[in-house]
Symmetry: C2
């Protein structure tokens, strides 16, 4: 699991020519770092005005970004697993008609899995960008550059995850599913 | 050192209300992940056309991004050290006029250090974005979404580092230095 590895080794894993971990895991990681920075600012003892209202809004934002952080961290390795499942499905035997049909079904199922992970990363990143607005408005102004960096990372995660949804969607044959996902992607991308 | 820690602990460190690691280290990390993905694509055995020209250009790009990766990885912890030096300078005694003068000089010196690190991250990210264009044009098209994710991360690193340069520049009294840095920042930001 990438999440258990030393940062130096994580970078080396991304740099190796092996297909995983790739852009999907990197997008989830970008958003996980962004949301972690938001948690830092939301958890600072001083708020913008030090009013009870600011404090309550930040404490709510902190609870929300903590949950998002856990789910984005999970998505780092989930994306790698989903991609590996696609590769495994393509490697299934295709000697007989039955094998061909089973392989094709396995590929479609795996592609859906590989679409769902970056789609989830998009959803979580869009939610985090909404929380970032609260943190920017209420949090300690001395940390405003940290909120700015968090937003840049969340937008990169959103954009990167979108590229990964699109790549998989191109090979999915279920048109109703594809259309529904494409619609949601367009809505979520607008959050960036 | 962050680079030696487990990824899970790195995220926890960013999320803690301690001021470091903060947005500066996160920006360096964003670009380090981006450039690692570029190395993956540049190192794939297949190129866009499988021509000798593509192969030679990618091999040159790979050497360049490997160097950039090492320097961006260094910047992750260098930014934290530079920020800690600023905090230490502000904590110097200011009882006498001599102490005040020494403290003020130490603060200015430390602020320059804390400006130089994100400025370097901007330079390295801009260079990596130039290499990304070569990788996008010559690399295996099946990895084009990875190049896209890499570029999104490098732009986030560039933008995040810029926010950190700007924050420090606001407290630097040497106007000639500030102007020179601001000019370079504007040039580098155009690479995003």
């Amino acid at each position: 699991m990438l999440i258990e590895q030393r940062l130096e080794d994580v970078l080396t894993a991304f740099a190796s020519p092996d297909p995983t971990p790739g852009g999907g895991s990197a997008s989830a990681l970008a958003s996980a770092i962004g949301v972690s920075l938001l948690a830092m600012v939301a958890g600072l003892p001083k708020t913008r005005s030090n009013s009870d209202e600011d404090r309550a809004a930040l404490s709510e934002a902190l609870a929300s970004v903590r949950g998002l952080r856990a789910r984005l961290a999970e998505a780092i390795d989930a994306d790698t697993a989903a991609y590996d499942a696609v590769v495994a499905a393509y490697r299934q035997p295709k000697g007989t008609d039955e094998e061909k049909a089973a392989r094709s079904q396995a590929i479609q199922r795996a592609l859906r899995g590989a679409t769902e992970v970056p789609l989830r990363v998009m959803r979580l990143s869009a939610e985090a960008l909404a929380a970032a607005k609260v943190v920017a408005a209420r949090g300690n102004p001395s940390a405003s550059s940290d909120v700015g960096v968090a937003m840049a990372l969340l937008r990169a995660g959103l954009e990167g995850a979108r590229l990964n949804v699109d790549v998989n969607l191109g090979s999915i044959k279920d048109e109703a599913y594809s259309r529904a996902v494409a619609d949601e992607v367009a809505r979520l991308a607008a959050a960036g």
